[in-house]
């Protein structure tokens, strides 16, 4: 009987050595250790043994069982490892193939850049003000020191609804509306659509966007205007950007300035984009005209302020190298998907 047991052990060793899959291992377990297995069959004959032999054979049988079980466990681990490796090898893919991009849309480039500009000014303590696009002539012109028959009205050919109602030709009327409602300190920007009677071409549109800025408080200086614009433009265009103020005339600011930023193509050396000047005109600005303050009930002897206005389309065109303004309003997906 002892011999039978040892034979079983040897046979099991052989079978298990040859086993390569989890299934073969299981088959071997059933064959040798199962309820109807070889070892069980041998043990059934234990009853015929003498009382002395029984514990001896029993111990051998247990040892054989233990050894086979250990063998199976050991083998199982290595077979599992091999099987997993084979599976991983079979699962190999070409990781250079295109990913499955989720369907995402995008903001219009005018909105994205405007968002950026808003964030810059919010960071500088500016709030965002709004005003109507269909506006009273009073706010669009008269309160801004541009009475009827003023020659400055020529430079802004406006769309009229009635004699007193106009599509605002600038965002500056928001200045007046804010100053009428709110006492200093005031620090706002007012982005929005404006309208001018210009025929459509690569650089003109009858509808475009401006961003107005207004600061009113005690002791506001022209140097503050320069510093604010410098901070803004350096944040927008990068720390290398330089700004240049040139004298100009706007009826609602005095002194007034046109503000140029160093050409970001050539960095100020002069190139085709800046027409050799090294600078590109980017916005208009100035100290709020005392008459405008007065008309809004703010005493110009106590308070002073500055205002500025820039064209959003122009900023975005410069920034993204877009050469035709019409692209913004055509909304061609091939254009919109680029930003």
């Amino acid at each position: 009987m002892k011999e039978q047991l040892l034979n079983i052990k040897e046979e099991a060793k052989k079978v298990l050595d040859a086993a390569k899959t989890a299934q073969e291992l299981e088959d071997a377990r059933v064959r040798f250790l199962g309820k109807k297995g070889e070892l069980t069959a041998v043990l059934r004959g234990m009853g015929q043994l003498s009382a002395e032999e029984r514990p001896v054979i029993g111990q051998i049988a247990n040892e054989v069982r233990g050894e086979i079980e250990t063998l199976i466990e050991t083998k199982k681990a290595s077979v599992g490892q091999q099987e997993r490796m084979a599976k991983l090898a079979a699962e190999k893919i070409d990781v250079t193939m295109a990913g499955k991009v989720p369907q995402m849309g995008k903001r219009h480039p005018l909105t994205s850049v405007l968002d950026e500009i808003k964030e810059i000014f919010i960071g500088m303590g500016f709030s965002i003000a709004e005003g109507p696009e269909v506006e009273l002539d009073y706010y669009n012109f008269e309160a801004l020191n541009i009475p009827k028959d003023h020659p400055a009205r020529d430079t802004q050919d406006s769309f009229y609804i009635t004699e007193n109602v106009v599509l605002r030709s600038q965002t500056s009327p928001v200045q007046v509306r804010v100053m009428e409602k709110q006492k200093p300190p005031i620090r706002i920007i007012a982005p929005g659509r404006v309208y001018r009677s210009d025929a459509v071409d690569a650089t003109h549109s009858p509808v475009f966007h401006q961003i107005e800025g207004l600061v009113v408080d005690k002791g506001i200086t022209m140097a503050d205007l320069k510093g604010t614009l410098e901070t803004f433009l350096k944040t927008l265009y990068g720390p290398e950007a330089k700004i240049r103020l040139r004298p100009h005339h706007f009826p609602f600011t005095e002194p007034s300035a046109e503000v140029d930023v160093s050409c970001f193509v050539c960095g100020g050396k002069g190139c085709r984009v800046c027409k050799g000047e090294g600078f590109i005109e980017i916005l208009g600005a100035g100290m709020v005209h005392p008459k405008v303050l007065e008309r809004c009930g703010i005493d110009p002897n106590v308070y002073s302020g500055f205002a500025f206005g820039l064209g959003l389309e122009r900023v975005v065109m410069r920034r993204m190298n877009i050469d035709d303004l019409r692209l913004f309003y055509d909304n061609d997906l091939r254009f919109l998907k680029q930003f």
Partner: protein, 790 residues
């Protein structure tokens, strides 16, 4: 405003200043230079040469072989011109010469013979018939006394730098050579002086010739005039013609040229009347009578009205004050006696008249900005001085000067410390005084006296600007405001706008921006009812065109146009949105309500539920509760069976659905198009302010499937409402996972399969709990909708 630089040097010193320096410096003190053009740049390497011999070309009948002497060398040049003869001096373009239009001249061969350059006509060197009225066709024959080899630019004074300025509307004084010479002098710290004109006079007396009265002194503060007799009309000298031409004014004759020359030099419009055609030897400055007419210099008959100021003779209007002269009293070849007018007119009136007549002139453009009444006499005397200089006539003694202009000096407090505080600069008081004085201001103790030609300087801020523009904008330091912290956050509405964009882009939608004015035919294209309130619009009175003539009351048309355009560009699908303003007129109000509409539009690989899903995602993301979708069957813009109205609470907040094929036809789109219009204000108003935490469930959920059979007309919304209501507080979720019609389902019925999740926050649900709840639901469905369990 264009002027040749040499003209400036009559009044100041510009020696040693390069065009680039000049451009930059003047721009930085406020007289923006648009560009400096050297008129000679387009003609290079063209010199005078003498024709030594002319022979026929042996192999060509029409060509001639000439030997010319440039003073340096003898050259053979072949020409096709007929008018060449030995001994003539002609312009010759040498090898490598450049002619206007970028034409380059090179040595070459003509019919076998070498030709070393080209003889030129006046056109080939950029001149016109007006420059050489007597020149014959062919090569330009020059003065025989000219030296050989002289650069043609020097011969014709083409070596001139012409500066083009952009003058702002507040500075009419700079629409003149003198004004710009003053700015130039101040900019470079150079001397500036205007010599008073000297008129010798020829005796006689103006009162023998003309009587002048000004009836409407409100529109004509000053009228000054002198008479010239024995006028000899003729051409102007070359220097005058050249200067006028450089400034863009064509030479007419000596008298007209003098008025234009003075206009440019002094900025004072002048007019010359032929006194022979001034009826009654009388001039009356008065408003026109309604119905009066005048034939202006351009030959047009102009209808006048009583708002327009006229210079009239005893009978008729003779000149439109400040705008244009009349044909009747125009200076002609036969003119013998003239009246020079140098007047000051009220700018607004000139502007209105010019606008009404559609006639903007050099003169009206200056008057409308407000001119200096003290400039009439210097300009008038300058004109007379030029008459004597040119020998164009004899200046009659005496002058008429009817002056009602305001002579009050404008005085402004001068406070250097306040100016510096306002500018944030540190300009020395003496520098301020120096700049102001050079600009023509007088500084007396603590007051600045403004010169009469600077009507734009009205107060403290204007004086500060004068100081700082000469000091230099580039020297202003950069500082940031020192003031108490101002809070800066977006308003809840502004944040909601951002969020709408965030959600929609995350849903795969691209933002578009379209014009807010549109075509009134959009209502018909969208098949909107004739009596719809949407057709009540804000109309633009002077639109660019019909297609942009109304402010939109719906943004759907812009969306449809954009979808159509993209379909046209062969896009296979589009997912678009706009946060669009619409403009809704309000009865009794001047201004409309400006509201925002969220417009969604899509085509290609999508159906109604893709659109609805995005709308639901938007509402969910915006935290809007109490949302209902109700079938919309009678909106002509939409498919009658695939559209819904969106309700937020009890308020109608929008529509969504498939666009009616008839509407698609109107926009030339084929295939299914889906669109939604949702009120931003409704979404913003319906959004719960903040989300509150719900405790996580402690007990497991139970999922039961319910398959029911109902009439096909029954709406999912009806079924779901009953289930929700009956499941009470055990309700934890409901998904419709199958709708089926066909085999095994009776005609007119449909099968709906729901997966219902039940959960209690008090205990683990037992079988009896769930079965009981489901039983209750099924009974309600049966009694209310006739639903059978399948």
């Amino acid at each position: 405003m264009k002027i040749p630089m040499s003209w400036l040097s009559d009044y100041t010193d510009i020696s040693g200043i390069s065009p680039e320096e000049y451009n930059h410096a003047l721009t930085m003190t406020g007289s923006k230079v648009e560009g400096i053009e050297n008129i000679g740049d387009s003609v290079q390497n063209v010199v005078t040469a003498k024709i030594m011999s002319v022979e026929k070309h042996p192999d060509a009948d029409k060509l001639k072989v000439c030997q010319v002497d440039t003073g340096k060398e003898q050259l053979q040049i072949i020409t096709g011109a007929d008018n060449v003869k030995p001994g003539q001096i002609v312009p010759v373009a040498l090898d490598g010469a450049i002619l206007p239009g970028g034409v380059k001249i090179k040595n070459g061969k003509l019919r076998g013979l070498p030709s070393y350059g080209m003889m030129c006509s006046y056109e080939e060197i950029g001149m016109t018939k007006e420059d050489f009225p007597d020149a014959e066709y062919g090569i330009l024959i020059l003065d025989e006394n000219l030296p050989l080899g002289k650069d043609i630019r020097e011969v014709f004074g083409l070596n001139e730098n012409i500066v083009e300025f952009e003058i702002t509307s507040n500075r009419p004084d700079c629409l003149s050579v003198i004004g710009l010479a003053r700015e130039t002098a101040v900019t470079f710290g150079r001397p500036f002086s205007v010599k008073a004109p000297e008129v010798k006079g020829a005796g006689d007396d103006i009162s023998n010739y003309i009587k002048i009265s000004v009836n409407d002194t409100d529109l004509c503060p000053r009228y000054s005039a002198k008479v010239i007799k024995n006028v000899k009309i003729g051409p102007s000298p070359k220097w005058m013609v050249d200067r006028l031409k450089a400034s863009g004014i064509r030479s007419i004759n000596n008298i007209v040229d003098i008025t234009n020359y003075v206009l440019l030099e002094y900025g004072q419009p002048m007019h010359a009347f032929d006194l022979n055609y001034v009826s009654g030897n009388e001039i009356i400055v008065r408003r026109a009578k309604d119905g009066e007419e005048i034939v202006s210099l351009d030959g047009e008959t102009r209808k006048l009205d009583s708002s327009m100021l006229m210079i009239c003779d005893a009978k008729n209007p003779s000149c439109i004050a400040g705008v244009m002269g009349g044909e009747h009293s125009e200076v002609t070849e036969e003119t013998k006696t003239i009246l020079f007018e140098s007047a000051n007119f009220f700018g607004t009136s000139v502007r209105r008249t010019a606008q009404k007549l559609g006639l903007r002139t050099e003169s009206s453009a200056r008057y409308e900005k407000g001119l200096d009444a003290n400039n009439t006499i210097p300009a008038l005397l300058r004109a007379c001085e030029l008459v004597e200089l040119l020998g164009a006539g004899e200046v009659v003694d005496g002058m008429i000067d009817i002056d009602h202009s305001d002579k009050t000096e404008r005085r402004i407090a001068f406070d250097p410390a306040k100016i510096n505080a306002f500018l944030g600069c540190d300009v020395k008081e003496e520098d301020m005084v120096k700049s102001l004085t050079a600009l023509g201001f007088k500084v007396e103790k603590d007051e600045v006296i403004v010169p009469s030609f600077r009507a734009d300087v009205e107060g403290f801020a204007d004086v500060a600007e004068e100081v700082v523009r000469i000091f230099g904008y580039d020297k202003i330091p950069s500082t940031l405001m020192r003031s108490e912290t101002v809070s800066a956050v977006k308003t809840p509405k502004q944040m909601a706008e951002d969020k709408v964009r965030d959600i929609l882009t995350a849903c795969g939608m691209y933002e578009i921006i379209t014009y807010s004015f549109t075509n009134p035919n959009l209502f018909d294209k969208l098949l909107i009812d004739k009596d719809s309130t949407l057709r009540n619009v804000v109309k633009i009175s002077n639109p660019l065109g019909e297609e942009n003539s109304i402010m939109r009351t719906t943004a759907l048309s812009s969306m449809m146009e954009t979808l159509a355009r993209n379909a046209n560009f062969k896009a296979d699908k589009a997912r678009l949105f706009e946060l669009a303003k619409i403009y809704l007129p309000v009865e009794g109000e001047q201004l409309p309500n400006e509201e925002q509409e969220i417009t969604l539009g899509m085509f290609g690989a999508c159906d109604f539920f893709d659109l609805k899903g995005i709308v639901e995602a938007l509402l969910l993301g915006m935290n809007v509760g109490k949302v209902r979708f109700v079938p919309l069957t009678d909106d002509p813009t939409f498919h009658p069976g695939r559209a819904a109205e969106l309700y937020i609470g009890n308020e109608k907040a929008g529509v969504l659905g498939q666009i009616h094929p008839a509407v698609c036809d109107n926009y030339d789109i084929s295939g299914e198009v889906y669109a939604a219009q949702i009120s931003f204000e409704a979404v913003f108003g319906g959004a719960a302010s903040e989300k509150q935490y719900q405790p996580l469930p402690k007990y497991p959920a139970v999922v039961r499937d319910l398959a029911i059979l109902v009439d096909e007309a029954v709406l999912a919304a009806e079924v779901e409402e009953i289930i929700k209501k009956k499941a009470k507080n055990l309700f934890a979720g409901l998904t419709l996972f199958d709708v089926y019609q066909g085999k095994q389902v009776p005609e007119g019925k449909k099968s709906m399969a729901y997966s219902l999740t039940l959960q209690s926050d008090e205990k683990t649900l037992t079988d009896e709990d769930t079965t009981g709840a489901v039983q209750e639901i099924l009974e309600a469905l049966k009694s209310k909708l006739g639903a059978e369990l399948r």
